[in-house]
Structure formats: C-alpha cells, structure tokens
C-alpha cells in the first residue's frame, strides 16, 4: 500500500507525464507565495526581515505566525489578513495542470474524487499497518517526529507512504543518520536520505549552502536524528517508557560496519524524493 500526492497519483494513472507534472509544479512555484513573501509585497516587512524570519522558522519548533509576530512585529490581525491574501491566490496542482493544458477541469474533478477516496482508505490501512507491528507506540512516535522535524527543516510537505517490516538495508548512494536509544526498550533510529534531500536538510539547518560531503553537513544530519531521538524519548515517557539516547552517528562510519538486520521501515515522500526511517528493534 502507499499514500501519495495528487500529482503523483495522476502520473501513476498515466493521465499526465513527468514533464506535465514538472510544468505544473513550476507554475505553482511561480504563483504561490510564502507568508513572508506576501508580507513583503504588502510592505509590512522588508526582504532582509523576511529572510531572517524564514531562517528562524527552519531552526525552531514555532509556527511561522508566531515568528512573524515576534520578529516581524506583525499583529495577529495583520497575520490573519496575510493568510487570507495568500489563500486567495493559491494555485493547486490540479488547477496548475489545467492552466498548462495537460488535463481538463472535468478530468481533475473526477480524478480528485477517486484520489480522496483512495487516500482515506490508505490512511486506514496505514493505521492498521502500525497496529500490526510489535512496537506500534514506538514506531508511531518515531515516524511522526521524523516527518514533522523534516518538514519543519526543509519546508517541503512530507507524506508517509508506507510502514512495513524490511531488511534494514541502506540504499546505494544514500546517507544514513542513526542513534541508539537505550533503557527499558532498546532500539536504533536510522534516518536514510538521498543525497539531494540530505544536502537540502544540511543547508537549511545551518543557514548556508554546504557540500553534502562536508563535516558540517554530516554534523547537521546527526543533529537532526539527535532531535528526533531525544524528542522520541520525551514523547514516550508519559506512556511509561524510560529511554535515553546515545550520541548520533552517520553512515560511512559505524553504520556501514554493522550487520544488516530486519527493521521496521517507514517510507515517506518529500516532493519528488523518497526518504526512509528504519527502526532496528533490539530484543
């Protein structure tokens, strides 16, 4: 089973091709503006302040609205008005595909209905897949925190596609960032990222462009899994777990030297790229 975005659904159905999807995404990129961009257009903040707010948003756990108020001096009323203006001009993928002449409005309407029904069914299946795991509470906490931290850092919508038992292998050319969690349960959280996505994560976390092979980038990846691991321990404490994270590490060192073991693998979609979370449970 899998869950996907509407554009990918159309691609899979053969309704559009890859070029059409890329064209629609580009149309969206040109038409849709972030909250800070709308604030700049409305003359409420300058470009430098917008960059500062965006940078702080990537590094914090607060909403963009809270940071706009604190750093940009915007009132709640101003932020609400900006959100309304932003929504008014928002171009959805279906509309972008129609605008590009790739599909008709009628096609979009019909397929959207099928897509929504399928998504609802797949959400239910995902929940059942979690319930069938040996440690559903741990798997849910790790998965939710992985997706929310990655989404916060990259500012890309991230969608869980599947949760399943797997062989724990790291894909060729990908980077793995891992952390052992010890205590009354013992497991290892491993975040697997393709190089492009990893490069984006590292650059966004550090606020500057960095090479994915640099020590700074590897360090940022380790800090990401450290946030996820530590927050997972905190999240699980009220459920009776007593857990403690060990220092994080990255592939190329300790991970590749470890034997590959069965894992619980969550696969997610970040725009066009996949990412994986592998949980190695230690009995």
């Amino acid at each position: 089973m899998s869950s996907m975005f509407f554009g990918q659904f159309l691609l899979e159905k053969g309704v559009i091709n890859r070029d059409a999807l890329l064209d629609a995404i580009e149309r969206q990129r040109r038409a849709n503006h972030s909250l800070t961009e709308v604030a700049v257009t409305e003359g409420l903040i300058d470009r430098g302040k917008a960059d500062q707010i965006n940078s702080l948003f990537r590094l914090s756990n607060q909403s963009i609205e809270v940071i706009c108020a604190a750093e940009g001096g915007l009132s709640l009323n101003q932020i609400e008005q900006l959100r309304k203006k932003q929504r008014l001009g928002w171009l959805r993928i279906g509309t972008a595909l129609v605008a590009g002449g790739h599909v008709t409005e009628r096609q979009v309407e019909g397929l959207l209905e099928i897509y929504r029904a399928r998504e609802a069914a797949e959400r239910r299946t995902l929940e059942e897949d979690f319930d069938h795991l040996d440690d559903p509470i741990v798997a849910r906490a790790c998965t939710e925190l992985t997706l929310s931290h990655l989404q916060r850092v990259t500012e890309i919508p991230i969608k869980l596609r599947s949760i399943e038992r797997a062989d724990g292998r790291l894909r060729d050319g990908w980077r793995r960032f891992a952390q052992d969690i010890l205590g009354d349960h013992a497991f290892c959280i491993a975040i697997d990222l393709p190089m492009d996505l990893f490069s984006l994560v590292a650059s966004k976390m550090l606020g500057v462009e960095v090479s994915p092979t640099s020590d700074a980038a590897l360090d940022a990846g380790c800090e990401l899994v450290n946030l996820i691991g530590g927050n997972t321990c905190t999240r699980l404490e009220p459920s009776g777990f007593r857990l403690r994270p060990e220092p994080p590490f990255s592939s190329g060192g300790l991970v590749s030297a470890r034997p590959i073991r069965p894992s619980v693998r969550a696969t997610a979609q970040a725009a066009e790229q996949e990412l994986e979370l592998n949980l190695f449970m230690k009995k």
Binding site: S60, V66, I67, M205, L206, A216, E223, G229
Partner: protein
C-alpha cells in the same frame, strides 16, 4: 556594565553554529565553543564565563560528568543543560546534580534569548 559571556559545549558543530548565529546580534558574547567535555572543563577554568550551555548527550566524557567537573571548580557557576531529551528523569538528574536550568531542543531564537536574559537577571540579582 559588561555584556554577559557565554561558553557553549556541544559535540555537534551544527548546534555550536546555530547558537552562535542566534546570539550574534544579542548582548551575549560567545567567548568559547568546545566539542569535547574534557577540553571544555580546562577552558572553563581559564575563562570563567558567566553562563555555560552544556549538551547532555556527548560521546566520550558525558554532559553529566562535565557538569560535575565544572561545579567542582566553581560550585556557583551557571550551567544550563541543553538537550533534545526532555524527560522528567533527565531534567531531575541534571538539576539535582547542580545545573542551574535545563533547555530542551529545538527552540526558537526569540525564546532562547528571552531564556538567557531571565537567567542573566537571576545571576545579577
């Protein structure tokens, strides 16, 4: 009145970079950043910063060991434990060992500076 001095201790260079960026335009002066607990204790002895921001989970000498050694040198030092692990157990262990406060990651720049200002007021009071 001189600006408060801050020393950051974290094995993650990424966190040291982020904290330095957060404090760049503030009244707080980052006077030292160390990635290793043992070296950090030596450096603390030399510079005696007003505030120490200390990571809890570090390879080699842990944050707790580093905390104990800093407090042995100066029982009145202001050491804030910084960690993504915010369990009651971890917080209790740090505070009962003598840490001044505990800050859970992630945090925003705004909240971070407000936290440090509150701490600084407490030190000067």
């Amino acid at each position: 009145m001189t600006n408060p001095t801050v020393m950051t201790i974290d094995d993650s260079a990424a966190i040291l970079t982020i904290i330095a960026a957060y404090l760049e335009d503030s009244e707080f002066n980052v006077v030292a950043s160390e990635r290793d607990g043992r070296r950090a204790v030596q450096r603390f002895q030399e510079i005696r910063p007003d505030i120490v921001l200390l990571d809890l989970i570090m390879p080699g000498q842990s944050g707790m060991e580093t905390l104990s050694q800093i407090l042995a040198l100066d029982p009145d030092s202001c050491v804030v434990m910084v960690s993504s692990l915010g369990t009651e157990e971890a917080v209790h262990e740090c505070l009962s060992t003598g840490a001044t406060s505990f800050l859970q990651k992630p945090f925003s720049r705004d909240a971070f500076i407000a936290f440090l200002r509150g701490l600084d007021r407490g030190i000067k009071a």
